[in-house]
Amino acid sequence: MSKPSKDQMLYMYRKMLEIRQFEEAAGTLYQSGQLPGFLHLYIGEEATAVGVCAHLQDDDYITSTHRGHGHLIAKGGKRDRMMAELFARTTGYCKGKGGSMHIADKETGILGANGVVGAGIPLAAGAGLSAKLRGTQQVAVSFFGDGATNQGVFHETLNLAAVWELPVIFVCENNRFGMGTPQREHQRVEDIAAVRAPAYDMPGITVDGNDVLKVYAAVDEAVTRAREGGGPTLLNCDTYRFRGHHIGDPGTSYRDREEVQEQERQRDPIRRLAAVLIEEEGMTQDELSALETELANELEAALEFAKSSPEPLPEDALNDLYAGSIQP
C-alpha cells in the first residue's frame, strides 16, 4: 500500500476543494436560473475522482458520466472553461454544444462526460486498446455509477477488456443509489468488485471511496498493473451522494434525512483529509483556510471569465459535426 507524500496529499486536498467549490457555485447558479440544462452534483464523492486521477498523467485517458465535473477537475480540466460551458459560452470546452454532461478536453485526455448511463465504459476500453496497439504506457480509466453496472455494455466491456488484457481501470462509484433507487432494489450484489470482478477473471478491489488515501493506495496497484501489461482492474469505491440526484431533486423521498446528515458528518472526504493534514502532517487550520480562500478567489475569476465570454451565434449550431468539408 502506497502512502502519498505530504505534497501529494495537499495536491489532493486542493483538487477536492476545487471540485466542492465548483459544485456549490454551480448549484447556486442553477437554482437562481442562470444555467440551462441538467446539473448532477458530485458533492460528497470528491475523494474517488481525486484519489484515482492523482495517479494519472496528462496523456492518460478518462471517460466520465452525467455526474462528471469532479472527474474532469481531478484530471486537469480547468474550472473557467468548464464554467463557461455550463454558461453555454463559446469559451467553454465544447463551445456551448455539450453542456454539463458532455464536457471533454483532448489535451488532458478527458474523452467526455456522457449522458447515457454506462456508455462511456467501452470508450475507455478503446482508449486502452489504442495505447496497447501504439505500444505506449498510457492507461484509461472509466468512471461510472452503481446503476451503470446493470447495463449490458458494462458486462460486455469488462469481459472484452479482460480477454484482451487492456490497460483499463474500471472505477465504480457506488454512491448507493441509481437516481432514486437504492442499490439493494436495483441489484442483489452489494460489493460490486468482490462479485463481478471474478466473473470476468480480473482483480477487484473495494475501498472506502470517501477516504482519498485509501482510494489513492488502491489505484496505485491497479495503475501499475495496467501500465505493466497486467490488464484491467475493477475498483469499487463505496461513497455517498450528499445532494439529490440532480439539482431539482431534494434527495429525500427515497432516503432518510438522518442518513444523509450522518454521512455528511462522518464521511466528508475533505474534512477527513484536513484532519490527517493537521494531525499527522503538521499543517494548521489557518494554512488550510488560506488555501481555501485562494481557490475561492480563483473560482471567482473563473465565474467572471464565464459570464463575460461571448454566447455562440445561433448558426454556430451547424459547425463541428463533420471533419473536413462535409456539410450537415
Binding site: 465544447c94 478536453d105 467526455g112 447515457v116 478503446g126 486498446l129 484482451w164
Partner: protein, 327 residues
C-alpha cells in the same frame, strides 16, 4: 484492368490500407481464423497478426464503443458487424456516441472509424438477417453512409472511408460478394459524395442503391429492347449525397423512378423524392415512383421472399408506366 469479386475487392482495400497505415486495424466477430462470416477478411490474420485482426466477443455494443475509443485516441479502426440487423444491439453506441461525440465536444475529437456491415435479402436468411436499414443511419446527423454496388466502387470507397476522419457506416450486400467486376491494377480511390451513372439514357432516370443497381441495369436492358432509354444512377454514398448529379439526370430525362431494397415507408427513396420535387419540380413529366420492399419483415420461404423484395421486372414495369404517363 483485372476482374475481381466484390469480396476480394473489399479485401484488397483492407490489405492496402493496413499496409499503408499502421493505425488501421480490424476488429469484429470471427474475423480472424474463421475469416469473417462472409469471408471478406479470410487469411488476413496470417498476414497482419491477431493484434491487428482482432476477434471480438459477441458484444456489439462493446465492439462499437471500443472501436470509438480507439478512433478518438489515434487509431483508425475498421469494426465489422456481422449483419446490419445486429446494429440494433449496438445502437446506442452508434447513434448516441459515435455519431455525436465530435459535435458534442465542440469539434475537439475526430472519429476515423469505419463500421463495415452487410445487409440485404435473397438467401432465405429471414427477418433478422436480411434487412436493409440504411435509412436509420442516414437519418442520424454525424454518420456517413456508403453502399457500394460493384467491386470497383467497393474497393475505391472502402479505401476512402478508411482514410476519412468521420464515422462511416459501410454497408455491403450479402448477394454481391460473389459478383465480379473490373478494377484497375493500379491504386485508386473514389471520393465520397460522388454518384455514378451506371448507364446513360434519355427517357427516365432510375436511381438505385446497392444490389438494386444490378436489377435496375437488367430492367434497363429490357426497356431498351422496347425502345425506352433508361438512365441508371447509383448515388454510392447516401450521406454525403451527390444531389447535383441526381438533379442533372432528372432534368435530362424528366422522369424519376427510385429502386431500393429497404421497405418504402420512410425509406431513403422518400428523401430523394423530396429533393427532386423541391429542386426540379418543373422538369418532371410524371410523378416520382418508388419500387421498394413490401412493408413486412423479410420472410423465410423463397417464394415469399421473392415476392417481398423488388426484382428487375417490377422496376421495368414501374418505368414503363412512368414513361407512358400522360400529363
Amino acid at each position: 484492368m483485372k476482374t475481381i469479386t466484390y469480396r476480394d475487392a473489399l479485401k484488397e482495400a483492407l490489405v492496402e490500407e493496413m499496409e499503408r497505415d499502421d493505425a488501421v486495424f480490424l476488429m469484429g466477430e470471427d474475423i480472424a481464423e474463421y475469416g469473417g462470416a462472409y469471408k471478406v477478411t479470410d487469411g488476413l490474420f496470417q498476414e497482419f497478426g491477431k493484434d491487428r485482426i482482432r476477434n471480438t466477443p459477441i458484444s456489439e455494443a462493446a465492439i462499437i464503443g471500443t472501436a470509438l475509443g480507439a478512433a478518438v485516441t489515434g487509431m483508425r479502426p475498421v469494426a465489422e458487424l456481422m449483419y446490419i440487423d445486429f446494429t440494433a444491439v449496438g445502437m446506442d453506441q452508434i447513434v448516441n456516441q459515435v455519431a455525436k461525440i465530435r459535435y458534442m465536444v465542440g469539434g475537439q475529437l475526430d472519429v476515423p472509424l469505419v463500421i463495415r456491415t452487410q445487409g440485404g435479402a435473397g438467401r432465405s436468411s429471414a427477418a433478422q438477417h436480411a434487412q436493409s436499414l440504411e435509412a436509420w443511419f442516414v437519418h442520424i446527423p454525424g454518420l456517413l453512409v456508403v453502399m457500394p454496388s460493384t467491386p470497383y466502387d467497393a474497393k475505391g470507397l472502402l479505401k476512402t472511408a478508411i482514410r476519412d476522419d468521420n464515422p462511416i457506416m459501410f454497408i455491403e450486400h450479402k448477394l454481391l460478394y460473389t459478383e465480379e467486376g473490373e478494377i484497375p491494377d493500379e491504386e485508386y480511390t473514389i471520393p465520397l459524395g460522388v454518384a455514378d451513372v451506371k448507364r446513360e439514357g434519355e427517357d427516365i432516370t432510375i436511381l438505385a442503391t446497392s444490389r438494386m443497381v444490378l436489377n435496375a441495369l437488367i430492367a434497363a436492358d429490357t426497356l431498351a429492347a422496347e425502345g425506352i432509354s433508361a438512365e441508371v444512377i447509383d448515388p454510392r454514398t447516401l450521406m454525403p449525397l451527390d444531389k447535383d448529379s441526381i438533379l442533372d439526370s432528372v432534368k435530362k430525362t424528366n422522369r424519376l423512378l427510385i429502386a431500393h431494397e429497404a421497405v418504402g415507408r420512410a425509406g431513403f427513396g422518400a428523401e430523394i423524392a423530396a429533393l427532386v420535387v423541391r429542386e426540379a419540380f418543373d422538369y418532371l413529366d410524371a410523378p416520382i415512383e418508388r419500387v421498394a420492399a413490401a412493408p413486412v419483415p423479410v420472410p423465410f420461404a423463397p417464394v415469399m421472399e421473392n415476392f417481398v423484395i423488388p426484382n428487375a421486372d417490377q422496376i421495368a414495369d414501374a418505368a414503363r408506366k412512368l414513361v407512358r404517363y400522360e400529363i
